[in-house]
Symmetry: C2
Subunit: 596 residues, 2 copies
Amino acid sequence: MTTSDARTPASKQSAENQGDEAGKSIGWHKGYVQGSRPDLRVPVRQVHLTNGKDVTLYDTSGPYTDPAIDTDVRRGLAPLRENWIVARGDTEEYAGRPVRPEDDGVKHTSPRGGLRNLDAVFPGRPRQPRRSRDGRPVTQLAYARRGEITPEMEYVAIRENVEAEVVREEIAAGRAVLPANVNHPEIEPMIIGKRFLVKVNANIGNSAVTSSIEEEVDKMTWATQWGADTVMDLSTGRNIHTTREWVLRNSPVPIGTVPLYQALEKVDGRAEELTWEIYKDTVIEQAEQGVDYMTVHAGVRLPYVPLTARRKTGIVSRGGSIMAAWCLAHHKESFLYEHFEELCEILATYDVTYSLGDGLRPGSIADANDEAQFAELRTLGELNTIAKRFGVQTMIEGPGHVPMHKIKENIDLQQEICEEAPFYTLGPLTTDVAPAYDHITSGIGAAMIAWWGTAMLCYVTPKEHLGLPNRDDVKTGVITYKIAAHAADLAKGHPGAQEWDDALSDARFEFRWEDQFNLALDPDTAREFHDETLPAEPAKTAHFCSMCGPKFCSMKISQDIRRQHGGSQEEIEEGMAAKSKEFAAAGNRVYLPIAD
Amino acid sequence: MTTSDARTPASKQSAENQGDEAGKSIGWHKGYVQGSRPDLRVPVRQVHLTNGKDVTLYDTSGPYTDPAIDTDVRRGLAPLRENWIVARGDTEEYAGRPVRPEDDGVKHTSPRGGLRNLDAVFPGRPRQPRRSRDGRPVTQLAYARRGEITPEMEYVAIRENVEAEVVREEIAAGRAVLPANVNHPEIEPMIIGKRFLVKVNANIGNSAVTSSIEEEVDKMTWATQWGADTVMDLSTGRNIHTTREWVLRNSPVPIGTVPLYQALEKVDGRAEELTWEIYKDTVIEQAEQGVDYMTVHAGVRLPYVPLTARRKTGIVSRGGSIMAAWCLAHHKESFLYEHFEELCEILATYDVTYSLGDGLRPGSIADANDEAQFAELRTLGELNTIAKRFGVQTMIEGPGHVPMHKIKENIDLQQEICEEAPFYTLGPLTTDVAPAYDHITSGIGAAMIAWWGTAMLCYVTPKEHLGLPNRDDVKTGVITYKIAAHAADLAKGHPGAQEWDDALSDARFEFRWEDQFNLALDPDTAREFHDETLPAEPAKTAHFCSMCGPKFCSMKISQDIRRQHGGSQEEIEEGMAAKSKEFAAAGNRVYLPIAD
């Protein structure tokens, strides 16, 4: 982890240099765990402690933090999985759909014409899209059902420190998904399921109002550097196709999208002009580019729309409101719902994972767990069953705004209705009164719902409800959600989760400040805050901190207590146990009457 | 609420001006609810909405936000409760204990001599301390048991929007405390108990290493301005007595302390030199100044100390480690435990509330809910019973560092063992791995434990474990904990709690941006974030936000849906219900086979 731009060699230096900053050869470096084949090496974050020990942490930062790899955003990342995909022999390259100006929101009639800046077109190596050779599913779900343990499955097994067979079983049962489009060979495989580490998604994306391609690519690498497990590109403005190409070719994590947003751009924002054909064309366009999972709001059905009329905040999901508008304008059932099986056939041929969207999620505490929300959830359950029949991996999206006492009902109902398919929730926000702090109002709900079984958390930044997140907001959102996810891993008793906390707490008790910083979710800010009050270098090895000062430190006194009772842990315990016995008689007496 | 210095008339202006900023006479102003007597006026925060409605919120900011009151930190606040206290006729003024140089950490032998800056001595009106006339308890608990509803009880009843009798009952039963030292007449009474709004405490205090008297007083007013219900002065450096005097005379909220910290200063930080006499003298010194509640670590007993030897982080409570060091140094039972009844007699004569400290609270996830922690809790239960016998109001302090799945056991055990005495917890932090973000790791645990019955939450700032909080950290800590407290009020179904969320959500759905800002916990930051992406004044009334842009807004589409179905709510529902019926047949069919 480092705050400097991950895409430049400089960042690799600074990663290595953290040790030097401390004047010792400590800090961390990118390590790899070798799998069963030479091209299967799983990245880890190796933290070297001053006491000689090492701590190994899960790493999502991709090749950008490996000084041995020369990365270049204009070239893109190496296609790590290409050989694995080709070796399976069930896919073929093909000409693919021609890219049209409309894909970037440019009308032929548009006076503006062309891209905002033509050199924005991704310059990386030419590639042809790939799809199933015979139309049969080429999904990790299909392989898992056939009993195959793919390299991708072995990869995530090593990452999660579990048996590969466990990974295969969870995927085969539909309790976990491994999003990996055959056209996105650059990703480092990861898995989303309640038996595995809780994952975090970070949203990026330009809008008609702000931001550029460069910013979005930078936000993606920045987010994964701080721990984002997947990234959703929610661009809604122009250059959508080109922005997505840059993001995909440079992303080490699965990329998700909401195809409906781009489809709407193609009809110039007029929901009623949307058609199945335009939507289908957009899905194929994005599948050929390599989008790993797509949010599909097929659960927003015409009969449910009236259920939102009484709501305090109506429909707050963009996709949900677009589909509701379409349904009412045409007075017809949703074209997504009606063509769902055809959509399944398409997704199966690229291994695009469904993220069935909750278009009717509550947008306020008042609307939580209402009729509209749960009516849609039941439909998502039906669609989940259909998707599985077509061999498509599927997860289910969840709310939203929900007060604490109504959170558990959401995960329990979803798990029951959707046959334990992975739940993927946005927070939920536990109150509406704190705009500018919704990473916190939602971090509370996220930690709780993840503890109870949610597999992935979609982050919320401080700008939620107010504006588009900048670089700092993205970092704050990711760190907040990594906290929620790890707190849930601890509460679920995930094997190995507590080792990280223990290592940091040991460092804290022993005043190994540099180790505390290097083990922290955000070493830079931890170090910076410490230096504000005790900037001097010796302070980083001082046996006190600024909270109490030198002569008045609970940790120090607590250690003195140990020392008074001999060096070794055994001696300490003997000595103390002896005293304990001595005082047992008195100690067991409830209250000693005052002598005087 | 305003970010400018609360103690200057300027801040009052800016509070008034929030409306002008918006170009309209909206915003908020300080209001009062008149009680049964002229001098009983309960402050509220009146938010004026652009739709003509008003929202009334709980207000902790004191006279500083009332433009009609001229405040001056050098004079102190008006003694609001003085007449009520005198009228009871059960207290008397007396000479009191002379203030000594040692009280400010200055040794006679000290070459430094005198205060760091002599003009620091509080210049306000001279006052004599007050105590019980005949040694009998002059506590709100004693009055409540006698069936008396004091002006203080009526005051909090109005604040909490409940019957005064409910307040009296909860106090009489020991399920709630109303901290109000007879020597702190400046406070606006508040109550701490699970049947009332969850409260938030903010810690301030200088240390041997940093900060000044001025800073501490400013932090206090700053914290209460953002919603702190009580403030603890944890000063450990020099000028402790004088700093506390400034804080008390200017504080509209109850002030808590840990007398042990000052006592330790008096023996130059050598725990083994502490004596009951020095401690008792310090308690009287602070009680005469007006400290409303005191943390007493009388539960740290000698036989429990060995139980901490096996711990990952030993004893992390400062008070706990001091008492442990004393017990072991003298090989004797804690003098606080042995003299507890005598201490009760003292506190009862000033109405100082006990906050029985959890000196053995866990300092890491690994140590949560262990033998040492719960052994101390059982002793706190015994002490709670004794305190009640002496008519002393009592609350119990709780952890600390606790993973989510072990939180509920803490509140359940405490409520059982301590006969439902108010629980007052520090977080708990739900993971150890995020130094610099412990306001968030602990905000998660705080919201949960408050939902389950904790009455007051002690805030944690981003600087926890790293350094002393500055002004920004104090604000961030308070806002984070107000979020946790309000989320808990919602989950507990506290009457009226959701009205605030509903008002803000209505404003959000109707694009009343200024109303959203004025209703927010932090209007300044919400406005600032919005302006970052859409600075133009018209944008604050624009019917879209920067997240989606003008043509692509879920709220707008959602409103269009309503409009399509007629103006009035009735028409909307009729129209939609009709459509709903029409589609019922199809809608109820689980899946429609694809036509083509």
